[in-house]
């Protein structure tokens, strides 16, 4: 591994933050095209020759071409296609035969494929689930044509509503059909026995009866129908079955099956359940109130990563010990175990392209990678003891070797005050002019104040006067009198010399219609000509806006404009109800001509 040519990696990019990094960059191939999860990575001496290989259950780009790849160093040794996507890959010793080469187990769909010496050796299928007896009975009747499709449908629906045991796919599919298709469906499928099958969601290993490194291990499977199965390593019989309240997504086991073991299962409902040897159902429950994204046991502490960007530490009884906040979403987690120094730590691959290594809540190391790491694995690879294997979101493969001199110490990551504390405050600057003005104010503050107050009073007075005047002469476009609540606004359209003037008149009273109103235009007759300067307004229904249109002809060719006043009057009264001043635009048409 150490001999792997460093030629094909971009040293500058893969480098860890510190100059004296703890890691040697062994290999980086951004185009390795490995798309997988941490659960599908395993390191093992598959041929018993002392060369540890990397086993990858590869989902393929877009999860389309699942493959089993075995890598020796950076090279792909063998590659074989899989029929279904691999959910987990583990290596384990299944018997005491010499040479003690580990077997490889690959969980995929409802089966576990066991390989020995990289050759297919055995296939274990999950036992089919019990079918609902009522349902079975119904299909039996259908087989003998003693029941018509419609009754079948009704009966099946009844079972779906109430029964504990869910229906088989066949029945569910049948329930979806239209009336016309039912007959054919029944005829096609009635001879087949109905069955329910589940799939494996996760898999791990559990030592059988010895704690040694090279002891025989059982396989532990988590299934979609909320069960955990422990398989005998030799006969592949089910040794134990445990029930969970939800579907397990990650498993973590310690102990030995024949002695005592603890099983932690992180489930899809956001809880982590802890089971023991003699318990058929969970003994403790950790409620995360978020989705777990990884589960790792470090010594006696269960470390759970949640999708709210945090790592939590729990005791094996489910008591929370600590919480650490991450700078980005956690994508994957795995255990880092350095046997030579007796170190165990958690590695977490984050969405911001960092891999953080924590021992309890102290950050030991941060590795920056060119792409977000989606799967992690640490252990012996080739002949090198401490190798870190990472695959990235884009399908890249990164291999790093921990320097033999490297010692993880606390504070290897960030410590001390946050970096923001070192940046200066951006206090807005003041100009020379500001200072001068300040000085002037100091000298002549009283005068300024007086002038200001006087002007303010004058302003208020003027405003009040103008307001009174407007009220008196109904100059405003809104009439506030109780009898004729009206609103007016005007729009001028066109470039000239002919404009279209539209008045929008609205009766704002709650219920009373208005009748007998007149509109009158006042304008300079030298400048503008209107077809009708005076007309009657139709009855105004409350709430509606009435557009009243008229044309205005501009007579001047000098490019000047004037104001047209619009008055709304009540019949028989000389004082207008309201008025509007319309600033006419300059006639562009004439100017151009």
């Amino acid at each position: 591994m150490a001999a792997a040519p460093p030629s094909d990696f971009n040293g500058g990019k893969v480098e860890s933050s510190e100059a004296g990094s703890k890691w040697l960059d062994a290999h980086y191939d951004p185009l390795a095209s490995i798309h997988t999860f941490s659960a599908c990575l395993a390191l093992a001496d598959l041929h018993g020759d002392g060369e540890y290989k990397l086993v990858v259950g590869d989902l393929g780009p877009g999860g389309q071409q699942p493959r089993l790849k075995v890598l020796k160093g950076p090279r792909v040794l063998t590659e074989s296609p899989l029929s279904e996507l691999p959910a987990a890959a583990v290596t384990f010793l299944k018997d005491h035969h010499e040479p003690r080469t580990p077997a490889l187990a690959l969980a995929s769909g409802p089966c576990v494929y066991v390989y020995k010496n990289l050759r297919p050796y055995f296939k274990f299928s999950l036992p089919p689930l019990p079918v609902n007896p009522l349902e079975e009975d119904l299909w039996d009747q259908a087989k003998e044509d003693r029941i018509d499709p419609l009754t079948l449908k009704e009966m099946l629906e009844g079972i779906r509503e109430k029964a504990e045991v869910p229906l088989s796919v066949q029945s569910l599919r049948f329930l979806q059909l239209e009336l016309s298709e039912m007959e054919a469906f029944v005829n096609q499928h009635k001879s087949k026995a109905i069955k329910r099958q589940t799939v494996i969601t996760t898999m791990t290993t559990l030592k059988k009866n010895l704690a040694d490194e090279d002891a025989v291990s059982c396989l532990v499977l988590g299934t979609e129908n909320r069960e955990l199965l422990v398989l005998d390593p030799e006969a592949f019989t089910t040794l134990a079955t445990m029930k969970l309240p939800s579907v397990p997504a990650f498993l973590e086991v310690s102990g030995q099956f024949d002695v005592e073991f603890r099983l932690a299962a992180a489930c899809r409902n956001g809880n982590v359940y802890i089971l023991r040897r003699d318990s058929k159902c969970p003994k403790y429950c950790i409620e995360l109130s978020a989705q777990p994204v990884g589960l790792v046991r470090v010594h006696k502490v269960l470390v759970v990563g949640s999708n709210q960007d945090s790592l939590h530490g729990f005791t094996h009884k489910g008591k929370r010990l600590w919480t650490v906040q991450m700078p980005a979403a956690i994508l994957t987690m795995n255990l880092l175990e350095q046997h030579s120094r007796g170190l165990q730590a958690v590695m977490a691959g984050l969405a911001n392209g960092e891999v953080r290594i924590y021992q309890d809540k102290t950050l030991l190391n941060v590795i920056r990678t060119p792409d977000a790491v989606t799967s992690l694995c640490f252990g012996r690879f080739g002949r090198e003891d401490n190798t870190l294997i990472m695959t990235t979101r884009g399908g890249g493969l990164i291999i790093k070797i921990l320097k033999r001199t490297a010692v993880f110490v606390e504070g290897g990551g960030e410590l001390g005050p946050p970096p923001a504390q070192a940046t200066k405050l951006s206090v807005p600057r003041k100009t020379r002019l500001y200072v001068d003005q300040t000085l002037r104010e100091r000298e002549a503050g009283t005068a300024m104040h007086r002038t200001f107050q006087t002007d303010l009073y004058l302003l208020r007075l003027r405003a009040a006067r103008a307001y009174v005047q407007a009220l008196e002469s109904s100059l405003s476009p809104v009439s506030a009198t109780a009898r004729e609540p009206l609103k007016l606004h005007a729009v001028v359209q066109g470039l000239g010399p002919t404009f279209k003037l539209t008045l929008h008149l609205q009766n704002t009273s709650a219920a009373r219609p208005l009748l007998g109103l007149l509109v009158c235009f006042l304008h300079n007759e030298a400048l503008y000509a209107l077809p009708r300067a005076f007309f009657k307004v139709p009855l105004l229904v409350p709430g509606l806006s009435y557009p009243l249109e008229t044309f205005v002809e501009s007579l001047s060719d000098k490019g000047i404009s004037d104001v047209i006043k619009v008055l709304v009057l009540r019949e028989g009264q000389s004082a207008p109800l309201l008025s509007a001043h319309i600033n006419m635009p300059v006639s562009e048409g004439l100017a151009a001509a």
Partner: protein, 494 residues
Amino acid sequence: MAEERHPTRTQFPASAETQKPHLKKAPEFPILEKQNWLIHLHYIRKDYEACKAIIKQQLQETQGLCEYAIYVQALIFRLEGNIQESLELFQTCAVLSPQCADNLKQVARSLFLLGKHKAATEVYNEAAKLNQKDWEIYHNLGVCYIYLKQFNKAQDQLHHALQLNRHDLTYIMLGKIHLLVGDLDKAMEIYKKAVEFSPENTELLTTLGLLYLQVGIYQKAFEHLGNALTYDPINYKAILAAGSMMQTHGDFDVALTKYRVVASAVPESPPLWNNIGMCFFGKKKYVAAISCLKRANYLAPFDWKILYNLGLVHLTMQQYASAFHFLSAAINFQPKMGELYMLLAVALTNLEDTENAKRAYDKAVCLDKYNPLINLNYAVLLYNQGEKRDALTQYQEMEKKVNLLKDSSSLEYDSEMVEMAQKLGAALQVGEALVWTKSVKDPKSKQRTTSTSKASGFQQPLGSNQALGQAMSSAAAYSKLPSGKERSQMKNLS
């Protein structure tokens, strides 16, 4: 394969490709849940695009029967903000498996997010019937009731949730109810319990710290805020509160370094710039203080505390005309505070508008019950105007207030203020102002008098406390100015 063993199970050659349909004609149905684990893995690592692709494929294969795929699709829709669509999908899930409480929970959650709290409570109650041990249902029910303003019911539900399983969130919601009702003590009790339960939750620590601050238990407040900061050194709420406490103790430089963190986290926070401004003020960098306060004012133009501080700084800069504007603006927003009128009066006195100054003092005296400074300043003004009798009344009023305060707490007054009062007392010939001597001699805690700003909001309780402390000294500084005149008057008299 050659050395095939013979266990009990069915077995076929495990060569990868071969085990497809072994029974002929009638097509095998795919297992509905085949890719659920993959959907789940993509979902939890927030790879929604990949997730959606698999869901689509899975739904096509199973003709829409895969419940989990629909469920996750709905969750993603909800995260993307399409709540209505997610609600419909969750309802589909509930049809596919009517016995599942989880689907109902999600339906209720979507209803809740759509603001249909009433409907949400109904669905939650339905779900509670299916699963009686789920704290989340009860917690969410409680939250719904909070939004429906049925606080008693909400409390019951939240307590129920706590009994089932304790979660920080439930504590926070319970505390919120008490705060909404205005019951500080109960809220603090809840938060204390919560902190005991999860001592590292910074939100809980910060809130409890702020509550302590609000009731004036500074020691504990600082302790909790400090704890919050050790766990999360960039928690800006805690930094702001702790910083303002440092300001009260005059640690302006430390407070300023702490504020730098906040400035990078929330650069547009008005209380932050207010506090920074007052730090500079404390360090006598007035121009910087004014720029910061003006920024704060720009960010929150209707905050009277910032206007108050601006007025104060301008008074100190002897820019009385500007001070007048800021103070009158502040009074428009907060017409019930005596100190504001006093400062306005000080500005008016300096603008030689004695008439209005007196009226402002009258208003201040009538609003305030505890601050002797107002009466003292008023007395000085009256004395300078030659209205000795009125000045005497104010002086006695001030003595009363001082006596009252001395009984309740041991406070230290600004030395300038004491000196001024003694001088005035001598001038008014009321004999030695005995009231003061004692309090000056035992300067114990450096706590300032004012507790007025307690009613203030959460984030800036002390920025303006600071201001008030300064307000006193600056007002005293003002009263020092005419003291020259005063002395000359005295000489004339004698």
